[in-house]
Amino acid sequence: MKVRILVSLKNSVLDPQGQAVKNALLTLGYDSVKDVRQGKVFELELEGISHDDAERIIPEISDKVLANPIIEKFSWQILEKD
């Protein structure tokens, strides 16, 4: 099973990396860019696990390991079932 997890800074936390990208794009003349936020994406390949178990452990992994809940939020989706 293939799973994608997106982790990004909470909206209340300043994202200087996103700002830097935004500035770079504006400098290059892409003035339609109003805002940029940068985050991380994890693509996990899971094996030998039921759909229900996956639904349980993915948020667990995300909350415990992949994201730091003080500053980050996450979302996930299953890309491919077995």
């Binding site: 700002q19 830097a20 500035n23 400098t27 290059l28």
Partner: protein, 735 residues
């Protein structure tokens, strides 16, 4: 079948191919051809440079290992030796600045710790195009953060280096990285594959299809479209390398292995053949056992892969389990992939079949060697003619402009991205001519420097070569260190062009002469040819890395003024030499003229004198005069003093005022002394027949320079400091 097209794709000539057939007595298969193409590439074989490199002096009483191993080794007493080397990573850094530079750091570090030495410092020598374009800015940003990313993570301080800017590097930046390690003299390791039956172990990262043909890529010119068609670039993994470093040093300390070689450029091919060739043995390896990151890799791909962070080890037969245990402690696999045999062959099997069976001597030692044609470049005649220049109208403004030119400006923007303090050895002297590293548990310290002004070399390669050595040693002398060994990285264009070959030969002659006069052995180095993009070659760029030894760390001297009312003494002589100067380049926008000339014997005597008065305790600060001339030298000593002490100088020379202030005449050092010591210094100089002149005093908050009582320069230190310090950060500031 091997046809003409395949041969050409492997960057081999038809003659070379025929020689291969003759040497092995049959046609090679494709994997074997790949092996030859790597090992006979310019990068690995030095086929165009080796005849000229032989001019370099390599002997000396403290040389433990000269050229020919992964790195050179010099005895520094107390049972210790230093292991050092420089390496280029130019092409990869252009394609992928961050990863290119990062893997450059990783590669040179492996060269050091394969010899049993713990790396303790890094330096980097960088050349970029002008920062007026966003492309050049992003290359510089990427390269600096790549070096920082790798070096900081692995925990080896990047303590120094240099950065120059010139148009000729816009499409071909240079990234040369120097590393030095320290080892107990009795515990040095070599790339040996001895002992029939001894197992060959593969350790570190898994093999992927990384940078296949990287070594041949570094040996070919880039065309216009190469930005898109270029092969894979490797991604570095400093964490893996840190584990590898610790584990390798641990197996060495436990005397479990016979020999070890890193797999860098040319990977498994280079490490197996070189180890066998050095020991006159055979290596039998089975590719099925090689840890692989990707599926379906062919023997060709595995033999040519340049995946990083890998090592090949020949272990003692009865100690394999202990080796594996140590690697497993560091969460690394160590896999036996073959063994040592007799007969001088490399035998590789895959899927039960023999896919390679070649004589290693042919691969490693019998590559054809070329004495390529050379010819005086056509540009030279006119480039040496510097037309008469107008004198500046306002010296203060000219001075500010120079101080803020990126080549002269403060490089703290770079330096502070590097962890330069980890390992707690870096002696505190910010911005010093030569960073100083203490050696724990001894009174000694090392001083290091990298140097090379390519504009000089472009206009007069031999003089440029001499000056690169002389200036590096002068930097050491200012810190109070004596040079003990040299490594060098020679960055040039396409050696098949006779004009490039001429630059190369001349430069080496200059370097060789200087090393002889300074009596310092060259213990190794690197040649990077084919630094051309779209037919344009870089200026010939030798980068000299000189290692100096300070016998007593309490004598180390820095460039910053210590106090007010110190006497400023100029060692050496002012001459009217403006050609090839940063002043002419920045202010008059010309890269022309005859570079400053150098009398090496005179230079040596001045350096000896500087060392003598430093060790007699007569010197408060010392700084050499280089790019930007006397005015910039004096200003820097003010900027680098903790209280930004000003100065007032009156120069009594009859010459063009711009040449006096900004000319780059060689063999000059400005020192300061306490008032009560200065006469002693002047008298001593007289005895030694050194020209030494008291030119003024430190103090106040202005930089004031007169010529025969006539005011030339008069600016507040704060304003000058601002121009110098903020130039580079301003360029990179997010606006």
């Amino acid at each position: 079948m091997i046809d003409r097209k395949i041969i050409e794709e492997h960057n081999l000539t038809l003659d070379e191919y025929e020689k291969i057939v003759e040497l092995i007595g049959r046609e090679p298969n494709i994997t074997e051809l790949g092996i030859f193409s790597l090992m006979w590439s310019e990068h690995c074989s030095y086929k165009s440079s080796i005849v000229h490199l032989r001019q370099l002096p390599v002997k000396g009483k403290n040389v433990i290992q000269g050229p020919g191993e992964n790195a050179g080794i010099i005895d520094i007493g107390d049972g210790l030796a230093v292991v050092f080397k420089i390496e280029s990573h130019n092409h990869p850094s252009f394609i992928e600045p961050y990863q290119g530079a990062a893997t450059g750091v990783g590669g040179i570090l492996r060269d050091i710790f394969t010899m049993g030495a713990r790396p303790i410092v890094l330096q980097d020598s960088l050349r970029f195009g002008p920062l007026s374009t966003s492309k050049n800015k992003s290359i510089m940003e990427g390269v600096v953060s790549g070096i920082s990313g790798y070096g900081n993570s692995i925990g080896i301080p990047t303590v120094g280096g240099d950065v120059y800017f010139n148009d000729c590097y816009s499409l071909n930046p240079l990234v040369n990285v120097f590393a030095l390690g320290i080892v107990e003299k009795e515990k040095i390791f070599y790339a040996k594959a001895e002992g029939t039956g001894n197992p060959v172990l593969y350790v570190g990262a898994k093999t992927g299809r990384d940078g296949i043909h990287g070594a041949t890529m570094a040996s070919a010119e880039f065309g216009e479209d190469s930005e898109h068609k270029r092969p894979n670039v490797q991604v570095g993994d400093p964490f893996m390398e840190k584990l590898l470093l610790e584990a390798c040093l641990e197996v060495m300390a436990n005397e479990l292995i016979v020999g070890i070689q890193d797999m860098g450029a040319a990977g498994l091919t280079c490490s197996t053949t070189e180890m066998a060739a050095k020991s006159g043995t055979s290596l039998d390896i089975n590719l099925d056992l090689v840890p692989q990151r990707e599926e379906g890799m062919t023997p060709y791909e595995m033999m040519l892969s340049e995946s990083q962070e890998r090592m090949l080890i020949v272990a003692k037969k009865d100690r394999v389990e202990e080796v594996k245990q140590i690697f497993s402690k560091w969460d690394l696999d160590a896999v036996v992939i073959g063994h040592v045999g007799e007969g001088g062959r490399l035998k590789v099997s895959f899927g039960g079949k023999t896919v390679v069976d070649l004589p290693v001597d042919a691969i490693v030692n019998l590559c054809p060697v070329y004495e390529r044609e050379s010819k005086v470049p056509s540009y030279l005649e006119s480039a040496k003619q510097l037309e008469p220049l107008p004198l500046p109208e306002d010296y203060n403004q000219t001075f500010f402009k120079l101080l803020s030119s990126p080549t002269l400006a403060e490089k703290e923007w770079v330096r502070r991205q590097y962890d330069h303090m980890v390992r707690v050895n870096t002696v505190f002297h910010p911005g010093a001519d030569a960073p100083v590293i203490r050696i724990k548990n001894t009174k000694k310290a090392l001083a290091l420097t990298l140097d090379g002004n390519s504009l000089y070399t472009y206009l007069d390669p031999k003089t440029g070569g001499k000056i690169a050595v002389a200036e590096a040693c002068r930097n050491l002398a200012c810190a109070g260190a004596r040079p003990v060994g040299v490594t060098n990285c020679l960055n040039f264009g396409n050696p098949e062009k006779p004009e490039i070959m001429w630059q190369f030969k001349e430069t080496i002659q200059g370097i060789a002469q200087a090393c002889r006069i300074f009596d310092i052995p060259v213990t190794g180095g690197n040649v990077s040819f084919y630094n051309d993009t779209e037919g344009v070659s870089i200026y010939p760029t030798p980068v000299l890395g000189v290692v100096g030894l300070v016998e007593d760390i309490s004598e180390v001297t820095g460039p910053g003024f210590k106090d007010e009312e110190e006497i400023l003494i100029l060692l050496g002589e002012n001459k009217e030499e403006l050609g090839a100067s940063e002043y002419v380049k920045t202010i008059h926008q010309k890269q022309k003229g005859i570079p400053p000339q150098i009398d090496l014997k005179q230079e040596k005597r001045i350096q000896e004198f500087c060392l003598e008065i430093i060790s007699s305790g007569l010197v408060e600060s010392a700084h050499d005069v280089s790019e930007g001339g006397l005015a910039c030298c004096l200003a820097e000593s003010s900027f680098l003093s903790s209280k930004n002490i000003g100065l007032k100088v009156d120069l009594q020379d009859e010459m063009r005022s711009d040449a006096l202030l900004f000319g780059e005449t060689q063999s000059r050092i400005v020192i300061t002394s306490k008032h009560q010591n200065h006469q002693k210094i002047l008298n001593l100089a007289k005895d030694r027949q050194i020209k030494a002149t008291a030119i003024g005093k430190t103090g106040g908050d202005r930089i004031i320079i007169d010529q025969n009582g006539q005011k030339l320069l008069d600016v507040p230190v704060d304003d000058a400091l601002k121009a110098w310090r903020e130039a580079i950060p301003d360029i990179f500031a997010i606006k």
